[in-house]
């Protein structure tokens, strides 16, 4: 789950990491008010969850209060990579000498925490690092021992920081690690971390919280829903995973790997998947019913393709859920079913009773669905 910059900065400030003075504005008047209090020049930063906001024009500098009003209006009326701008963060403009990159994340391959530091702060760090791999320092942290101050000295030397700022960097990295653990974050990122005459300051802050840890942070749980589309919210409520795609063949499967493989198979045979939908392991009739309703009522879906390999999932339970969804929605869209595994016979019997053909081979079922979608 992503946090907005203003939320991340509040947390970061509470952990003692320097950030610019700023205020949140929900409209143009509030933006001007904020700029008056902070004092121009200010930076207006659109608060969106999509990445690479600066390149998309989501950050403006305003030298005067008139600038503030004009730029705020512009930003409130733009969409940043499709996302509506509901808030602006109005911040004191900071003069800096250099921009650095500093983040803490989890390295999948090393299976440890890792600090990433680079003197190439600012935009597009991924690209720059690909081009100049020697400009990226990785410092791994074993969870058993945690952060240790030598890491900050190593980073400071690598970043070319003067001795006076070593302490600042230690305090920042120490806080980042603490924050990472206490908030169950998967990413704490400052890009840029600026070098100024008064020391280091985080001009931007990004925090992403691990979704599986949210139960430990009830204060954040409601926020997790805001990134989701209405259909994704239904999915979350009933415990299945749903991702919207742009085709017309609705897909329902069990297991993430099989679901992706089914999408790929649809594309292989010339069709276009409308979605990714994984009912998960051991889905109940209710969950299957809600999942099927979601797909059946999707205006773009012409054909529903169900591919189930029952291990922990029971085919009869799936069949009953599907039939209930059809009856509740009264939808007349064709449904192609492939079903194998636990309680397959019973599942097949139920569906055939209602006139659905049940396939045993995935290839055959997918070909049929693609053919129906073409009609």
């Amino acid at each position: 789950m992503k946090l907005y910059e203003f939320e991340a900065k509040k947390i970061v400030r509470d952990y003692g990491i320097p950030v610019p003075d700023g205020m949140l504005a929900r409209n143009i008047d509030e933006a001007v008010e904020a700029a008056k209090k902070i004092g121009v020049p200010v930076v207006l930063k659109s608060q969106v969850l999509v990445g690479r906001r600066g390149l998309a024009g989501g950050i403006r500098i305003a030298e005067t209060l008139e600038d503030v009003a004009r730029e705020a209006e512009n930003l409130f009326n733009t969409r940043i990579r499709g996302e509506e701008v509901k808030y602006l963060l109005v911040e004191k403009k900071i003069d800096f000498k250099r921009e650095l990159y500093l983040s803490l994340t989890i390295d999948r391959a090393a299976r440890k925490y890792v600090f990433l530091a680079s003197p190439l702060g600012g935009v597009e760090i991924e690209e720059l690092v690909k081009q100049y791999p020697d400009k990226l320092l990785k410092l791994y942290i074993d969870p058993a021992t945690g952060y240790s101050p030598y890491m900050s000295r190593t980073a400071a030397k690598f970043l070319g920081l003067s001795k006076e700022t070593w302490k600042d960097l230690h305090s920042i990295m120490n806080s980042m690690y603490k924050l990472m653990i206490e908030l169950d974050a998967e990413l704490v990122e400052f890009n840029p971390l600026a070098v100024t005459d008064k020391g280091l300051i985080a001009l931007d802050a990004k925090i992403r919280i691990d979704d599986n840890s949210l139960y430990r942070h009830p204060e954040l749980q409601d926020k997790a829903l805001r990134e989701l589309s209405p259909r994704e919210q239904v999915a979350k409520k009933y415990g299945f995973s749903y991702v919207e795609l742009d085709g017309n063949i609705g897909i329902i499967c069990n297991g993430a790997g099989l679901t992706m493989a089914t999408m790929d198979l649809v594309a292989y045979y010339g069709g276009k998947p409308a979605n990714f939908l994984d009912i998960g392991g051991g889905a109940t009739r209710e969950r299957v019913r809600e999942a099927t309703k979601l797909i059946l009522t999707h205006e773009r879906v012409k054909v529903v393709l169900i591919n189930i390999f029952g291990g922990i999932t029971r085919c009869d339970e799936v069949a009953r859920g599907v039939i209930e969804a059809v009856e509740e929605t009264g939808a007349h869209k064709p449904i192609v079913v492939r079903m194998l595994g636990t309680n397959e016979e019973e599942g097949r019997r139920i569906l055939e009773e209602y006139g659905y053909k049940v396939f045993s081979e995935a290839d055959e079922a997918v070909k049929k669905a693609v053919e129906l979608a073409r009609r």
Partner: protein, 290 residues
């Protein structure tokens, strides 16, 4: 003889009294797995499918003697505690079926296992199966015929699908390992491949990957570097997955320019590992390399 477990492996089930734990204990026993004890805190003294239940792993070990492996079914919030308990009581193989575990808990579990010389499989894995000998997990046994193909997979149901395709064409399996679908897992392709290389019963391997991370790319490099000791066929799911979206598995996400289908397929093919376009093509590619 499997690469990790066999018919003599003495197995503990953690979370044995729960819905999944108890159901799969029965299926594992039917397969021939030597389950010797179960643990559920507060349920000590009960018996599940003839298996004695203890409150703690320590008590289980004291009563039934040495335990080689544990299968963890406990809910995600308690999984870390259960895994640490197994490791601290000297169990050398821990198979973590539970899904939805906090990534921080996973980091702690994996590193603690490593420091103590414990092999951890998963989390979010369908488990480990040595054909005809033992099953530690939830795989539907009937789709796996005994044979000489080793399988390493990041997914559950897709593994069953491909194992069935193999069986249809007369290919059986030696050992099947689900690595788990999470970003942080105990054993990866490289570590498991090394064991398959040493396994005389495995002639070739099938690896089943998916988008997200760079585990397939890293394995491809390792495979070439170690002299391509056993032939491999691969299948990768997620060719049509869009970037930035988590496809069910926490690990299946294309992010920061890392983990897309093309990069994985190219890396594997460059390493001399043919990649099947669809699951039903795997047996044909296998017949071409064997």
């Amino acid at each position: 003889m499997g690469i990790l477990v066999d018919r003599n492996t003495r197995v503990l089930i953690q979370g044995i009294t729960g819905r999944e734990g108890s159901f799969h204990t029965k299926l594992m026993l039917e397969y021939g797995t030597k389950i010797v004890a179960g643990v559920t805190p507060g349920k000590g003294g009960q018996v599940v499918h003839g298996i004695p239940v203890y409150d703690t792993v320590k008590e289980a070990v004291e009563h039934v003697g040495s335990i080689d492996a544990s299968v963890v079914f406990v809910p995600s919030r308690f999984a870390r505690d259960a895994v640490l308990e197994a490791i601290d009581n000297g169990i050398k193989i821990v198979v973590v079926i539970t899904e939805g575990i906090s990534v921080h808990d996973e980091v702690v579990m994996v590193n603690h296992a490593k420091h103590n010389g414990t092999i951890m499989i998963g989390p979010n894995t369908p488990g480990v199966l040595t054909a005809g000998e033992a099953k530690l997990g939830i795989m539907p046994a009937h789709v796996f015929k005994k044979g000489c193909i080793g399988v390493i997979s990041r997914s559950g149901t897709l593994t069953y699908e491909i194992a069935r395709e193999l069986g249809k064409k007369g290919y059986g399996v030696s050992t099947v390992v689900g690595m788990g679908g999470d970003p942080i897992i105990g054993m990866n392709y490289i570590e498991l491949y090394d064991r398959f290389v040493r396994d005389p019963e495995t002639k070739a391997l099938v690896i089943i990957g998916e988008i997200g991370g760079d585990a397939e790319e890293r394995f491809a490099k390792y495979y070439v570097g170690t002299g391509r000791e056993k032939p491999i066929v691969a299948y990768i799911a997620g060719r049509t997955a869009p970037p930035g979206k988590r496809m069910g598995h926490a690990g299946a996400i294309i992010s920061m320019g890392l983990g897309d289908y093309k990069s994985k397929r190219e890396a594997l093919e460059k390493a001399g590992i043919p990649v099947a376009d669809k699951p039903s093509d795997v047996p044909r590619l296998l017949s071409e390399i064997l």
